[in-house]
C-alpha cells in the first residue's frame, strides 16, 4: 500500500503545472473563452509534450505510462481551466481510435484532435441504445451513418469523431472525419465557453468501423469509466484552485478591521471546502487507480468519484464566490469560469444522483 505520487508522477505534475502556468495563465484562458473558445495553434504544442500518448504503449508510439499518469495531468488541466481538446481527444476518443494505427498516429502527433459523439436528443448516455444508425459499406470496415447527436465536447476543434451507431447485431463504434460529406456539425451555445459542445448530424456520412457489436459495448462502458474518473480528477483540480483563490482572498481582504478569514463564518466554510476537496481527491485517485489496473471496482469507483468530486467542485466554487463577495460575482473575476466548468463536469454523462444510482445498484440489488 502506498498512497503518494511516485517521483515520476511528481515530476510529471510539476512540469504540467509549469507548462500550463506559462502557456495558459488565467487571463489567456479568459481571452480564449470570450473569443472562439480555443486556439488551434496550441494543440500541437500539447501533443509535443507527449500528453496525447501518455497511456499509449511505447511500441505504439506512446509514452507507455498509464491512466494514473494521465490523471495527474488532467488534475492540472482542471486547475488551469485548460481550454483545449485534451478531455475529448485523449479521454473520450483515443481508446476507440487506438484500434486503427493510422488514426492513432494522427492523434498522437497532434494533427487530429478528436471527440466522441454519444448522446442524442434524448440526452441519455447508454451503451445499448444510441440515436445513430449505421449501414455497412462496400468494404468490411466501412459504413454510412445516419442520425443526430448532441452534447459533443470540443466538436468545433475536432478532426475526428468517434460515433456509437447501431447496426444489425447491436451497437458498434465508428470513426468519422469531422468535416465529412453528408455530415453537419453545428455549435451549441454552451455555458462553459472553455469547453463548448456541438451537435453532429449524420446523413449518410462515410465512417470507418473501430469496434463491432461483439466488443463495442464493453469498450464504450470502459470509456465511460475512464471519462468519469477523468472528470473527477479535473473537478479536483478546479476545486483546489477555487479554494486557493478563496484562502488568498480571505487572508488579505479586510472588513471590520480584520482579514475576513478571521471570521469563523468564513473560515468554517473554507475548512469544509478543504475537507470536501480532500475527500474528492481520495476518490478521484482511487477511481483512476482502479481504471488504470482494470479493477472490478472501476465502474462503481468511477461513478462514485465523479458524483462526489463534481459536487465538491460545484460547492467549493459556490463557497468561493460567497467568500469573495461582490467581486466574485463579476465577469472580470475568474471564479465564474471555474464555476461553469464545475457545473459542466456535474452535468456531463449524468448528474451526481444518476451516478449514485449506479453505486446503489451495486450495493443494494
Amino acid at each position: 500500500m502506498n498512497f503518494t505520487f511516485s517521483e515520476e508522477q511528481v515530476m510529471l505534475r510539476d512540469s504540467a503545472r509549469d507548462f500550463l502556468a506559462a502557456r495558459y495563465p488565467i487571463e489567456k484562458v479568459a481571452e480564449i473563452a470570450d473569443g472562439d473558445g480555443f486556439d488551434p495553434a496550441d494543440w500541437p504544442a500539447v501533443a509535443e509534450l507527449g500528453w496525447t500518448g501518455i497511456s499509449v504503449p511505447e511500441d505504439a508510439g506512446g509514452a507507455g505510462m498509464g491512466f494514473l499518469e494521465e490523471m495527474v495531468v488532467i488534475e492540472e488541466l482542471g486547475r488551469a481551466l485548460y481550454p483545449g481538446p485534451f478531455f475529448s481527444t485523449v479521454v473520450l476518443a483515443l481508446p476507440a481510435l487506438q484500434r486503427s494505427p493510422e488514426l492513432l498516429e494522427r492523434v498522437l502527433t497532434g494533427e487530429a484532435p478528436a471527440t466522441l459523439a454519444w448522446a442524442g436528443p434524448g440526452g441519455e448516455f447508454t451503451s445499448d441504445r444510441v440515436s445513430v444508425g449505421a449501414g455497412f459499406g462496400d468494404e468490411d470496415d466501412s459504413g454510412h451513418l445516419f442520425g443526430m447527436t448532441l452534447f459533443v465536447p470540443d466538436l468545433a476543434q475536432a478532426s475526428l469523431v468517434v460515433v456509437p451507431a447501431m447496426v444489425d447485431g447491436g451497437m458498434a463504434l465508428w470513426a468519422v472525419e469531422a468535416d465529412a460529406e453528408k455530415s453537419d456539425r453545428a455549435p451549441l451555445p454552451t455555458v462553459d465557453t472553455t469547453r463548448r459542445l456541438g451537435s453532429f448530424s449524420l446523413e449518410g456520412a462515410e465512417a470507418r468501423l473501430l469496434a463491432g457489436p461483439d466488443e463495442a459495448g464493453m469498450l464504450l462502458e470502459s470509456i465511460r469509466d475512464r471519462a468519469l474518473a477523468a472528470l473527477a480528477a479535473e473537478a479536483v483540480g478546479v476545486a483546489s484552485r477555487a479554494l486557493e483563490l478563496s484562502v488568498e482572498h480571505a487572508s488579505t481582504r479586510e472588513q471590520f478591521g480584520k482579514p475576513i478569514g478571521a471570521f469563523q463564518m468564513v473560515s468554517a466554510e473554507l475548512a469544509d471546502a478543504y475537507v470536501e476537496v480532500e475527500q474528492a481527491r481520495s476518490l478521484a485517485y482511487w477511481a483512476a487507480w482502479a481504471v488504470a489496473h482494470g479493477s472490478p471496482d472501476a465502474p462503481v469507483a468511477a461513478a462514485g468519484a465523479k458524483a462526489y468530486a463534481a459536487e465538491a467542485a460545484v460547492r467549493t466554487c459556490e463557497r468561493a464566490i460567497q467568500v469573495h463577495g461582490g467581486i466574485g460575482f463579476t465577469w472580470e473575476h475568474p471564479l465564474h469560469r471555474y464555476y461553469k466548468r464545475a457545473l459542466w463536469i456535474a452535468a456531463y454523462l449524468g448528474w451526481p444522483a444518476d451516478q449514485r444510482e449506479r453505486v446503489a445498484a451495486s450495493l443494494l440489488d
Binding site: P189, V191, Q322, F329, L343, A347
Partner: protein, 397 residues
C-alpha cells in the same frame, strides 16, 4: 389570526386584478416577447407604465396623501406587491425610489425635501439609485471612504460607489459619504441626495457572472452637492442609512416570496414537461421530494413575512427579524435553480439556442442566484443580525 382577506382587502385585490387583466401590455411575458432594444425606448416604456400604475392608484399606497400617496393600509400594500408579482406585469421602474429613498425621506426629510422628491418618485418622473457600497466597503459599509468636503454652501464629493442598479438611468442617488474622516467609523458619515446629472458624476456598467450588466459603478470626481441636499443632519448618515436598509428588507420580503412562488410554478412546469426514463422528471422521487421541500419553504416564507409585517404594523418600524426573509429566500432560490439544472440533464450545459429549454433561461437564473446571498446584505451579515439583534447573543466581530 385570520389568513383570509377581509371584505375590504378582497375588494381591493379584485380591483387590482381586474385592472391588471385589462392593462398589462399585450404579449407581455409570453415566450418570444422582447422588450424594446434601445435603452431610451425601454426607459420611455417603463416611465409610461409606472405613471399609469400611479394614476390607477396602486403606487404609494401607504404614503401620505400630502405627498402624492393614498394614506392607505399596509395590508393593501402587501396585496399590491403580491398581485403585481403574481400577474407577471412589468415592474414599476423606481424600485430604489419606492423601497429605499422614499421611506428614508419620509422618515428623515425636511418638509421641503418631502414636497420636492416624494411625488416624482411615485410617478417615476424621477428615477433613483443607491450609492452605499464601495470597493473597499462591502459588508463593512461603515468603512466607506467617499469624501464630502464642505465648501461654502456645497459639499464637494469625491470617491467611488459600486453595485448600483439603475444608476445608468437615474436622476437622483441616495449617497452615503464621509464628511469627517477623523472620528470613529460610524460617526462622521453624511447622507446626501445627489443629482446624477451634476458634473463629475460618471457611471460605468459592471458585467456580472451571467454576462448581463444589472449593476453599475459610480465615479464621483469633485461633484458639488448643495447643503440643502443633506438628509438628516451632517454626521448623522449612519442612522439614516439604517432606516434605508431596514425599509429595503421589510418591503423586499413579500416581493421575494412571490418571486419564489413564480419560480416554483415554473419549476413544476419544467419537471412536468421534461421527459425522463420514459416518464416525466416529475415522476422521479428525488425531484418530487425536493420540489415538496421547496414548496414548504415557500409557504413558510410567505407566512413568516406576513407575521413580521403584522409586527411592523403594530410597532411602526420594521424589526431585525426581517433579515429572515432575505436569508431564506436566497438559499431557497439557489436550491430551486440548481434543481432546475439537474432536471434538464445534459441540456443544462446549454446557454441557449434551439435545443435549450426556453432559451436556457434556467441556466441564467441559476448563475444569477449566486448573487442572492451577497447582494443587499450577505448571508453572513444577516446571520449576524439575527444572532445579535434578535437572539441577543454577544457581538461576534
Amino acid at each position: 389570526m385570520d389568513f383570509r382577506d377581509t371584505l375590504d382587502e378582497a375588494a381591493f385585490r379584485e380591483q387590482l386584478r381586474a385592472w391588471l387583466d385589462e392593462n398589462i401590455p399585450p404579449g407581455w411575458g409570453e415566450p418570444g416577447h422582447r422588450e424594446p432594444e434601445e435603452l431610451h425606448e425601454r426607459v420611455a416604456f417603463y416611465k409610461d407604465w409606472s405613471g399609469r400604475l400611479y394614476e390607477a392608484g396602486f403606487v404609494g399606497i401607504t404614503w401620505p396623501e400630502d405627498y402624492g400617496g393614498r394614506s392607505g393600509p399596509l395590508t393593501h400594500q402587501v396585496i399590491a406587491l403580491e398581485e403585481f408579482a403574481r400577474s407577471g406585469a412589468p415592474e414599476h421602474m423606481n424600485v430604489i425610489g419606492l423601497g429605499m429613498a422614499g421611506p428614508t425621506i419620509l422618515a428623515h426629510g425636511t418638509d421641503e425635501q418631502k414636497a420636492t422628491y416624494l411625488k416624482p418618485i411615485l410617478t417615476a418622473e424621477h428615477v433613483w439609485c443607491q450609492g452605499f457600497s464601495e470597493p473597499g466597503a462591502g459588508s463593512d459599509l461603515a468603512a466607506l471612504s467617499t469624501r464630502a468636503e464642505r465648501d461654502g454652501d456645497h459639499y464637494v464629493v469625491t470617491g467611488q460607489k459600486v453595485w448600483s442598479s439603475f444608476a445608468h438611468i437615474a436622476d437622483y442617488c441616495i449617497l452615503l459619504t464621509r464628511t469627517d474622516p477623523s472620528g470613529r467609523k460610524h460617526e462622521g458619515m453624511t447622507y446626501l441626495i445627489l443629482d446624477m446629472n451634476a458634473p463629475g458624476v460618471e457611471v460605468r456598467p459592471l458585467r456580472q457572472i451571467t454576462g448581463d450588466s444589472e449593476f453599475n459603478e459610480i465615479f464621483l470626481d469633485g461633484v458639488r452637492v448643495p447643503v440643502e441636499n443633506v438628509l438628516g443632519a451632517e454626521g448623522n448618515g449612519w442612522a439614516v442609512a439604517i432606516t434605508t436598509l431596514m425599509n429595503e428588507r421589510a418591503s423586499l420580503g413579500i416581493a421575494l416570496t412571490v418571486r419564489l412562488e413564480v419560480a416554483l410554478r415554473r419549476l413544476v412546469e419544467l419537471a412536468r414537461e421534461t421527459p425522463r426514463n420514459g416518464g416525466r422528471a416529475a415522476d422521479d422521487t428525488l425531484v418530487r421530494d425536493r420540489i415538496a421541500e421547496l414548496w414548504c419553504e415557500l409557504q413558510a416564507l410567505r407566512f413568516t413575512n406576513y407575521r413580521s409585517y403584522s409586527q411592523f404594523l403594530a410597532s411602526g418600524m420594521p424589526g431585525p427579524e426581517g433579515s429572515t426573509a432575505k436569508l431564506v429566500w436566497s438559499e431557497a432560490n439557489q436550491r430551486l435553480t440548481k434543481l432546475a439544472l439537474e432536471i434538464q440533464g445534459p441540456y443544462a450545459m446549454l446557454s441557449g439556442g434551439d435545443h435549450a429549454y426556453r432559451d436556457g433561461i434556467w441556466q441564467r437564473l441559476q448563475l444569477r442566484s449566486r448573487g442572492n446571498s451577497i447582494e443587499g446584505g450577505t448571508s453572513e451579515i444577516l446571520r449576524g443580525i439575527i444572532a445579535e439583534r434578535v437572539l441577543g447573543l454577544p457581538k461576534s466581530r
